[in-house]
Every structure is written in structure tokens, then in C-alpha cells.
């Protein structure tokens, strides 16, 4: 799925309709320059990469995870939480930092090289001095998605103004990656407040909850991530959390960030450490402090130790040394193994599947939310027609239902027998949005064949929908699949 371009707006899809509605709203408010301008930025955003907000509790590892997702150290992390400014990381041809002030002016701070220390200093400005930082860098990881890092929820550093900025950025983002070490009341309240808007309630599809710093669970033992995974599975079943997200994923951001920074020199240092015998190294790894102060073996000086510890964390170190002892002897292999352990891949996949692949539905959601907000904030004679149009779109947004069922299937909330499940995923567009792919037909299939296939599928799922053995949630899911089949049939026959 590519970012939609101006040249060929999809005429029937939800995004196309949402876009048309946005244009109409813009025309309707053309004599109100502020509103129209705001709507225009929304329109322009449709041709930019998807915007994902990375937010969460204080010290939940937001910066670390941004680095791990981008694959480079561009977001500075610190022991103390002092970030008060929203930072936008996006793709650009050359590294550049731009500061936006609350009065609307922009200021280019530096070009050429990005220095984490400068960024950190800028992030600590007060929100009435800096509205947002925009950091451009040519990282390939940012081509498909723009990341917005926000100040932490429940932070002692953030003032009230910062909090309203946080709410604003969340209303602007197409998707939200929420980080917390374990879901607590504050998180649940916060996420509920984000989902209070009507459009958001209709489509709770844009949030992924990451249980970050999973390596610290159970005191960083070997099986910390398995423990975290089991815990995540339990939260997935919690109705309070289910109501706004279907994805709860544990991730060890530090370990992932450290693994991607692993070079030959660090690898050698690790190998040096691995030559020590079991009890000695265990002694060193008992605590972080012991590790930095240890003197054996001599080849590894305290500076290197400090770097390794800061980059990998105690859990990462333990895992790395364990892997080395088991015979992993190549930097690349070690890196891959560590990345695998950190589960960053699972998170990336979820982000990709949920957000990048599904960007049309998410963008449509953002556009409709914007229209809803404008119509709500500035009602005037004649806006009722637009409102009616919005309601019609909301009621017909079958794409969102598809997404919800798909995530339900993936996260295990919905269970279908095996062949049915595969078919449902296919029809709902898990492998791709094109009718041929959805119907599972060979690429060279004739239109006639496709129609027949769609008809057969629609009949089958209609029969399933009448099956009394399904409970309510499953019946709804089956009906959604059935409706998808019928829609496919409709597109294929051109409405005849």
C-alpha cells in the first residue's frame, strides 16, 4: 500500500470519501482563515508519511525505543526525566534540527550533524518557549513513518502547559504507541481520555501498548522476557485494556538499541569477558556497580565496561555472554540473536502490520476526527449537512471493522478453527488489499473466476453467520467477513 498521491485519489475507499469530505469542509469554512488553514495542514499531511506518537509513562524508555525503531541513536535518553517538548523525528535528505516556537516562527538550529547533547538541551526548554522540535535525518527507518516523541504521562517535570501540548499532539497523530512498564490506573485513564472522542470510539484501532523495559521484569533474570510475555497475555484479556487496544507487546528497548550499536570493538570486549570462568563473571554481573568496578580480564577497561553496561543493560550483557558461551562467534550473529531476544522485531512487525499497512484506514480516521472537531468547535448554519455526511461515513466505515476483527484474530481474542481463520484473514485483507489477493486467487485469474470465488465465499460466510454456536463477538466477526465478501462481490461486478 503506498501513500496516496494527489494524482489519483481512490474514488470509493473510505480515505477517498474522507478526503472529499475534508475538501468540502475546507470550502465551507474558506472565509475563516484559521480553520481553513488548520484543515489545509491536515490535507497536506495525507501526502506525508504516517505520523505515530511514541508516548507513555515517565521513564518508560520512549527515547530508547525511538532509537531502536529508527536503528540509530538520535533521541537522547537520560536518567532524569526532564523532557517537556514534543519532538518530531522525520525523514529528510540531510540531518537538520528545526525549532518551532509557540508564536509560529521557525528557527533552524543546526544542519549537517545531529548531536544528542544539543537535542537534549533543546528538549528541556519550557513549552512556552519551544512548541516542538523537528529533527530530520536520512534514516531509512523513517521513510514510511514519522515518529513523535512526547513528554511522559505522570511526570514530575512536565507542567500543565506541557500536558495540554501532549493532548494536542495525540490528537494530531495517526497512531499511538503507548509505553508503560505495567499498565496502571493513570495509563488506563489517560488512554481512555484519548479515546473519548466520538470518531475515536468508533475506531479503537490506532493504539499499540508496549510493555517496555521488559528486561527489568523479574529482576532481569534469563527468562525475563518470557515472564513479560505471559504478563502481556494476561493484560490482553483485561477488558479495561481491551477496550482501546488489542496489542500488548513486551519489548526490551535498551537491549535492542545496544544490539544495533554493537561493533567489532564492543564484540571483542564481550568476547574478552566471556573468557572468564562461570562463577567469576557471575560475581561481576551480580550488580551493575560490581560490573563497572571489576578489573578482570585486563583487556576490558572501565570505560568500555561503562559503555557496554549503558548500551546493553545488565540483561543484555547477561544474554550476550550466555550467547557467546554457547558458541555464537560473529558480531552480526550476536547482534541478530540479541535483537531477537529483545522482541523489537515483534513490535516492529506489529507497527508495520497495524499502522503502515493499514495507513489508509488510520489516515481516514485522523481526517474524520479533524472534521468532527471543526464541526463541533465552529457550528454555523449549513454545517448540518456536513455533519450528516460525517455520520454516514462513520456508520459505513467497514474498513475499521475489518481492522478490529483482524487485530482480534491476531491477538487471540477471537478464535476461529484453522482453515476458517486463514480465510478470514485473507478476506479481511491481511495479505493485501487487492480483490484478487483477498480472494486467494492466482494472479492471472479471470474477472469471471474472481466473481465466482467471491460469490462462493459470501455464501459460505453467510451460512456461518447463522451458526448458533458462535457467541456474540464471534458472530459479529463472521458478519464482518461476510460483509467484506459482499463488498468484494460488489466491486468486482461493478454494482450490477
Amino acid at each position: 500500500m503506498n501513500a496516496p498521491s494527489d494524482a489519483e485519489p481512490p474514488p470509493t475507499g473510505l480515505l477517498g470519501q474522507a478526503r472529499a469530505l475534508l475538501l468540502r469542509t475546507m470550502t465551507f469554512y474558506r472565509d475563516d482563515p484559521r480553520t481553513a488553514g488548520w484543515l489545509r495542514t491536515r490535507l497536506e499531511r495525507l501526502s506525508e508519511p504516517l505520523r505515530m506518537a511514541v508516548t507513555g509513562r515517565v521513564k518508560s524508555g520512549k527515547s530508547t525505543l525511538v532509537n531502536a525503531l529508527v536503528g540509530a541513536e538520535i533521541a537522547p535518553s537520560d536518567t532524569e526525566e526532564r523532557t517537556q517538548v514534543n519532538t518530531v523525528f522525520r525523514y529528510g535528505d540531510e540531518p537538520r534540527i528545526t525549532v518551532h516556537t509557540p508564536h509560529g516562527t521557525q528557527q533552524h538550529v543546526c544542519r549537517g550533524k545531529l548531536d544528542p547533547a544539543t537535542i537534549r538541551d533543546l528538549q528541556r526548554w519550557r513549552p512556552d518557549e519551544v512548541a516542538r522540535l523537528v529533527i530530520e535525518t536520512p534514516s531509512p527507518g523513517l521513510q514510511a513513518i514519522t515518529l513523535i516523541e512526547t513528554p511522559g504521562v505522570a511526570s514530575t517535570a512536565v507542567q500543565e502547559t506541557g500536558r495540554s501540548a501532549l493532548a494536542q499532539i495525540l490528537s494530531e497523530a495517526d497512531a499511538v504507541l503507548y509505553l508503560t512498564r505495567q499498565p496502571q490506573q493513570t495509563d488506563v485513564q489517560f488512554l481512555h481520555s484519548v479515546h473519548e472522542l466520538r470518531v475515536a470510539r468508533r475506531a479503537p484501532i490506532n493504539t499499540v501498548l508496549a510493555l517496555s523495559r521488559a528486561d527489568e521484569v523479574a529482576a532481569g533474570d534469563e527468562d525475563a522476557l518470557e515472564t513479560a510475555e505471559r504478563r502481556a497475555a494476561r493484560y490482553r484479556q483485561d477488558p479495561k485494556i481491551r477496550s482501546f487496544t488489542q496489542h500488548v507487546i513486551p519489548v526490551a528497548g535498551l537491549c535492542a538499541q545496544g544490539a544495533s550499536a554493537l561493533d567489532r570493538q564492543r564484540f571483542e570486549a564481550l568476547r574478552g569477558l566471556a573468557t572468564l570462568d562461570g562463577t567469576r563473571i557471575e560475581d561481576q554481573l551480580l550488580s551493575a556497580e560490581r560490573f563497572t568496578k571489576a578489573t578482570e580480564p585486563e583487556g576490558v577497561d572501565s570505560g568500555t565496561r561503562q559503555t557496554l553496561l549503558n548500551e546493553l543493560g545488565l540483561f543484555g550483557l547477561r544474554r550476550a555472554l550466555d550467547l557467546l558461551a554457547r558458541g555464537v562467534d560473529e558480531p552480526t550473529r550476536l547482534r541478530d540473536a540479541l535483537l531477537e531476544e529483545s522482541r523489537i522485531g515483534v513490535l516492529q512487525e506489529a507497527v508495520h502490520l497495524q499502522f503502515v499497512e493499514r495507513q489508509e484506514a488510520l489516515r481516514a480516521r485522523s481526517v474524520l476526527m479533524a472534521v468532527d472537531m471543526v464541526l463541533r468547535a465552529h457550528p454555523r448554519p449549513g454545517s448540518r449537512q456536513l455533519r450528516g455526511e460525517l455520520d454516514r461515513l462513520l456508520a459505513n466505515a467497514h474498513e475499521w471493522d475489518e481492522l478490529r476483527v483482524l487485530s482480534g484474530l491476531w491477538s487471540g481474542q477471537l478464535r476461529l478453527p484453522h482453515p476458517l481463520r486463514q480465510e478470514a484473514e485473507q478476506v479481511l485483507g491481511a495479505r493485501g488489499p487487492h480483490p484478487g489477493v483477498r480472494l486467494g486467487a492466482p494472479p492471472q485469474a479471470q474477472p469471471r473466476e474472481l466473481v465466482e470465488r467471491a460469490g462462493a465465499l459470501a455464501r459460505r460466510w453467510r451460512a456461518l453467520a447463522a451458526d448458533p454456536l458462535f457467541d456474540r463477538a464471534h458472530r459479529q466477526a463472521v458478519r464482518t467477513v461476510q460483509r467484506s465478501c459482499e463488498r468484494l462481490l460488489l466491486t468486482l461486478t461493478g454494482g450490477q
Binding site: 511526570s155 514530575t156 483485561d238
Partner: protein, 608 residues
Amino acid sequence: MHNPTVIETALVELIDRAEAECVEAQRTDLSNRLRQIRSRVLDPAQLVLVVGEPEQGKSELVNSLVNAPVCATGEHVSTTVPTVVRHSSEPSAQLVGQETPQSAVGGDRWPVSIERLHEELDNALRDGYSLSRAEVGLPRALLENGLALMDTPAVGGVVSSLGTVTEEAVAEADALLMVSDATQELTTNELNFLRRVTSMCPNVALVQPKIDFVPDWRRIVEINRKHMANAGVAGKIFPVSSRIRARAMREKSQELNTESGFPPLLDYLRKEMASAHEQLTRRLVAHNVTEAIDRITTSLREELNNQSPRTATETLLELEAAQRRAEDLKRLSGRWQKTLSDAVQELYSDIEYDFRERSWAVLHQANETLDEVDPGTTWEDFEDWLRRNLSRAIAETFEWLDRRRERITEQVCDELLREHVRTLPASDPIPVPDPLPRVPDPKPPKNADYPRKDQFLTGLRGSYGGVLMFGLMTSMAGLPLMNVVSISAGLLLGSKSLNEEKDARLKRRQAEARTSVQRYVEHVVFQVNKEARDAIRHMHQTLHDHCNRITEQAQISISRSIQDTKRSAEQSAVDRDARAREIKKKLEELNALRKKAATLTSNRITAA
């Protein structure tokens, strides 16, 4: 030094006097609190609460302190019932139930084996016992002086009710150990919690476990010290590591033990807490007594200000305002009563219609099915299906009813909102009834089986005519009566009449089944309507009572204020002066008492 018992008596006396003042001022909330404190003063145990947010390692800390796995830790358990660990010569454990009017004082107790404590606890909770806490006794030097550690449910977790349990327990604690792991600084929530609990229990220390995990825990501790100072919370900070402590215990290594950070914490608990028990109690008493007195003083001051003589216009204005309020109230109660009765009437007819519609859908489907299948053979499956569908219809109707109930409650309470604080009545969701067992089962159709003998007879009857007819016809052609043609014709006709008979029986069965289903569904509809009506009536009653109570209270307060105004207008200046003098005297008394309470601590501090 003073004699402890003398001091204790003095403290109890102080509390009693303050309590008497509270009772006189009709502040039962304050006097109850003081009574709680009083029983704490007389209890020799020093209760130290371990509190904090979820998964910070509270239970682990308690386990490390006493060096035994007494509190359940790990991924799949979160503490739901407080566990108290105190001294005893033999390891022992018991579960303590909630105190109810039927139970023994302080709740029923069941001794359990200490190894199986967690299992027993889980079992008891699963069986629906309401437990107030679990108690564990251990022979530890640390606990010998009467120290008791209490592991509490987390505050701020997804399950909010557990946090309340903890906050209630804070009121009677001697000291708190707040647990927040060293991997990050304190959050706003934690600081707010600290600030809130220090007003109830001023002895707080912050324990930061997991220092083994982060290299720069020292900085975090520094930051937290700043945060606590900014929040006005005084308390020591202990960075510890349970992991290193466990290792030290295993290897009996003194050096490791020092590194784990536990010795200072143990010292603090053993020395400062134990020797300072007296001081802690004093602080606890002083704090609570001064606060109670302050509250009473404020309300008395207000009354004193109101004692100043007022003019006739003021009185008149006040009276007018009160009268206006009374009129408003009358209008208001008329309004909510109308809203309520309208809504309930509507609901009665809606719900009846709703279920009838649903049952019709089921009936329709049943009839369609019965047209096609033989009810004789599939009756059991069919009955099952029918029951399931009806139960689902009932469930859906009641779900809808419950939603309507919520909406009506909100509507009616919204009417009240304008004048009074909006409170929703405590009403449970309407349970889905199961009326099916009360309805007699639908009768299976009769003559389901068709015995061979009867089949044979019917066949024979049919074939008889055939044989005779064709036999006669062919006999004209010179063949005998029983020939090939006549016999085969007989067979043909015999099987035809057998089939017809079978068909007719099937039709009859289907018709019978249909009537029986119809009757059954009617029965169910009747029962469900009755249930629904009962539920609605109950809801109506609850809501009506709730609103009535609010209105009545408002009524009472208005009439009281009218009376007050009248009385104070009639009251002579002399009386007013007398009351003012009385209040002033009382204030002086209270002030003296407060000073006495305050000296309790200041004395100590200068002495110490």
C-alpha cells in the same frame, strides 16, 4: 527517662479528652479516628506498612527483610490481601476474616500451615471468604521487639479497590516503608500518594530496591531526595538490592550483605523504630489530636463569627431565600417524579414488546424448521436449540433492559443535578433470570414410533385390495387369482398406502410439535414478562427511594435553616453574647489541649 506506662496513660488521657471534644462537636468521623489511634497506642506491636505501586517489589522486600518466602512474589500473583509478619517462637500462619457482627472480635481466624499459606489463601478467596489479612509468625530477632511488617496491596494499579484497602490501613500504622524501585525517579502519582499518606502517618521512609540493576542509582536517589524535599515529605531513603541480599544469605558473606544495602534498613527498623516506638506513638498521637482539634476549632470560629448581631433586612433576605429554595424544591421533586413515572411506563410497554418480538423471531424460525424435519427423530436436538435461542433472547432483552435502567437512572438524577450534588443510587445491574426450568417442557409429539406390526398391517390392508382387483381382472384371462401380476400390483399398492400413512403421521407430528412449541414459547413469554415487570418495579422503587431521600434531606435542611434564622432573629442580644463567650472559652480550652499535644513531640525532639 520517663516510665513508659505513665507516658502511655498520659497519651490515652489526651486522646480521650480530644475524643470527648469531638463527640461534643458532633464530629463522629474524628472521634472514630481517634478511637482507632487509641487502640493502636495500647497495642504493643509497632506496625510498619510496606506500601507502593504495583510490581515495585513490596512483597520481595518483606521476604528479604525476614529472610523467608512468606509473601507470594512473581509474575502471576499480585497481593490482594495484606500479610502481617510478626514475631513468634515457632513459625506459624493464620488467615483472618473480615470482622462481622457474627464473627469473633477482630474477625474469625483459621490457622494454616505456613508452607501452604499461599495456596490456602487462594483457596479461601476462591471459595468466597472475605479475608481482612493473613498473619505470619516467625522467630526473627528483628521482630522480637514487637515490630510487625505488613505487606499491602499495590496502590494505583488497574484494580483500584485494592488501593483503598491500603490507604485504610495507613491510618493505624506506626511507620511506612514506601517502595519505589531504583530504576526510575518518583512519579507524580507516587509523590501525591506520599503527600496524602504523610498527613495520616508522618513516619515515612523510602526504600528503593533493584539497585543491582542500574549503574546510576545514586543519581536517582539524589533526585528523589530533592523531589521529596519539594513535596514537603521528610524521610530517609534506603537503596537496597534483594538479589544481592539473597546471595549474601546463601554464601553467608558479610561483605555482600553490606553491599545489598539492607543493614542500614534493618538498623533503622530495629533501632530507630524499636527504640523510637514511644516517640513514634507520640508523633502519631500528637499529629492526629492536633488535626482533630484544628478541625473543631475552625468550625467553632465560624460559629463565633456568625454570632455578631445582624439587621432585620438581613434576616428578611435570608428568610426569603430559604422560601425560594423551598419552592424550587417542590417544583424539582414534581419534575423528577414525572420523569421517572413516564420513563417507567414507557419501559413497561417497551420491554414487553421487545421480548415478544424476539420470541416471535424464534418461533418463526422454529416453525420453518419444523416444516422440514421430522420432530419425532430430532426432538431432543430441536428442544435444545429452542432453549438456547430463547435463553439468548432473554439475555439480550435483559441486557437491553439494564442499559435502559442506566439511562433512566442518569436522566432522573440529571433532573436532581441542578440543585443538588448528583449522586447515583447504588443499584446492581439487573441479573438475567433463567425462567426456563420453571416452564413445563414442551411435549414431544406422540406416535413418534411406528411399530413394525402396524406397518405390516397397513401394508397388508393396502395390498389386499390390489391383489383382489387385479386377480379378478386377470382371472378373466384364465389365470389363477394369485398370479404374478396381481401379487406385484398388491405389493405396489401396499407400499403406496404405507407411505401415505407414514406421511400423514409425519404431518400430524409436525402439527403437534408446532402447537406444543407455540404453547411453550407463550409460557416463556409470560414468565419473562413477569420477571421483567418485577425488575422494573424494583428499579422504580430504588430510584424513587433514592431521589426521595435526597429531596427529603434538602427539605429538612431548608426547614432547619428557616427555623435557625427565625430563632436567631428572636434570640436576644444577651443570649448571643452568652454563646459567644461560651465559644471563646471552649476555644481557649482547645488551644490549651492543642499546645499540650504539640509539646508531646517538641519535648522529645529537644530531648533526643
